[in-house]
Subunit: 292 residues, 2 copies
């Protein structure tokens, strides 16, 4: 099953891809659909298909936008592919390295990326997990069963800001810099545990490719681990880390330039296609504020 | 003006402290009050007083609970008091060290703290800033003018989890471990720029005290800096860092024990009083999940 939030003449709606195109679901977006399911007995893909049949509303011309506009938590794992860990010069980890983004950090699958000029923008293609049921202190099996589906994300990173201090947030949480989508695919149709390729291209040139089979912490590990300390709720997103090949680890280093077309693909899910638009960073706050 | 979210027989309500006690405001909590003000011309303390007069509903027996239940962003600054930076062995920073918590991380001003047993729980008394107006790429003056008020928080930290990896999130974002409140005080009544004392006591023994006068990055610096990369919205919280005296920096190290009473005070605002209740960590995920 392929789910999305799509445009319609009257606003957005959650939608299910049928044989002949997008069909409406009874919620304005997937965040709302997942929240409603939780309040109504728990996420159940079979019921979603029935809901589409019941509504029976085709959506000709509908286009996927940001699938999950209001996650309460967006949690990312760093350093989770062996090759990418080696390129950063680190040992294989015993615990996942986790950091957060905000709902405001996300943007749609075809949106232009308005990136601050003069900042070192780098790519990080990732598989993202969409949480379907509330998880608290779950084991691996419960965590895996709570996965509503998988989508694609690019954890675009401002490397110079990321490394200004010990904590990465300020390089990872710029507004509207993490494209997500284009669709959410249910676990019966895509199996990251067996392995799916995560790919990044810049202007058509492949810069990253690895299989989720080589993840140090797989999707169930990550959800279980996070749920030990923080409750995961329907619609929350967990980004699983990026393969080797990021720009900052190249020699010479390579960062995104104005007009670059960034494609982020996960096999069996789809492709994000975002164009970089460098924009002036009009702010007083680049330097130590006390000096401003 | 002293604002809070308080209990009433019919649920919670935003409230204003009057001469004779709490008076109702037209919203179920301060998160909703601030969001409504934004939609209605922008946060204006004078209008809040008028709203209380208009409603004219006293709330005898009302008790403050979590003031801001639904912040879209909770952003914390680490390493922001000179003495605390020195006790961790670091140089004075040129940029603020920032990390995030979730709305689920917060809890009320008198709530018990159900903390996982076997984890190294440490205190971090902090002044917190409540954002009143949307801020994007603001300078210091605009940032300062957008402050709705100040409250008290304790950035309780699971030190062993915090230092498992490079990123602190997993030590900082345990559900319901950051008490906030008891009230939000408007800037005309409390002035952290001039200096207010931030104090922490464990079972009555003072363990932290410093003045916000010694902050490396003051409240306006922090809001302006964050707003460079992430839009701040009404009801968002920015925690400003903690003074020296944390347990992990003591010799011997000291962590919270079952039954400990943690008091967190900011002069001119109020005191959080939370009792530690250690609870079993029933999870499979403490060790590397692949080994579980």
């Amino acid at each position: 099953m392929r789910l999305a939030t799509v445009t319609t003449p009257g606003g957005t709606t959650a939608a299910l891809l049928g044989e002949h195109g997008w069909r409406a679901l009874p919620a304005p977006d997937l965040s709302a659909l997942l929240a409603a399911a939780e309040a109504d007995g728990g996420w159940d893909p079979a019921r979603v298909a029935a809901q589409a049949d019941e509504l029976d509303r085709d959506l000709p011309g509908a286009v996927p936008v940001l699938a999950l506009p209001r996650p309460g938590k967006v949690i990312c794992c760093g350093l989770n592919y062996g090759e990418h860990i080696q390129e950063t010069g680190r040992d294989l980890p015993t615990h996942p390295t986790l950091f957060a983004k905000f709902a405001d950090t996300l943007t749609g699958p075809d949106d232009d990326l308005a990136l601050a000029d003069g900042v070192q923008w780098d790519w990080e293609a990732e598989l993202a997990v969409v949480v379907g049921r509330t998880l608290r202190r779950a084991g691996r099996d419960e965590a895996r069963a709570a996965i509503a589906g998988y989508t694609v994300a690019n954890d675009l990173s401002a490397r110079d800001w990321q490394y200004r201090t010990l904590q990465w947030l300020q390089g990872k949480a710029w507004d509207a810099t993490t494209p997500v989508g284009p669709v959410v695919v249910t676990p019966d149709e895509v199996d990251p545990f067996a392995g799916v390729d995560v790919v990044c291209r810049v202007n058509g040139e492949e810069v990253q490719r690895d299989s989720t089979r080589t993840l140090v912490f797989d999707c169930a590990d990550l959800l279980a681990y996070v749920s030990t300390f923080a409750t995961l709720r329907p619609g929350d997103l967990v980004l699983t880390g990026t393969p080797g090949g990021v720009g900052v680890a190249r020699d010479p280093k390579r960062f995104l330039a104005d007009g670059d077309v960034l494609e982020t693909e996960v096999a069996g899910i789809g492709t994000l296609r975002n164009t970089v638009r460098l924009t002036p960073l009009t702010t007083l706050s680049q330097e130590h504020p006390h000096g401003a």
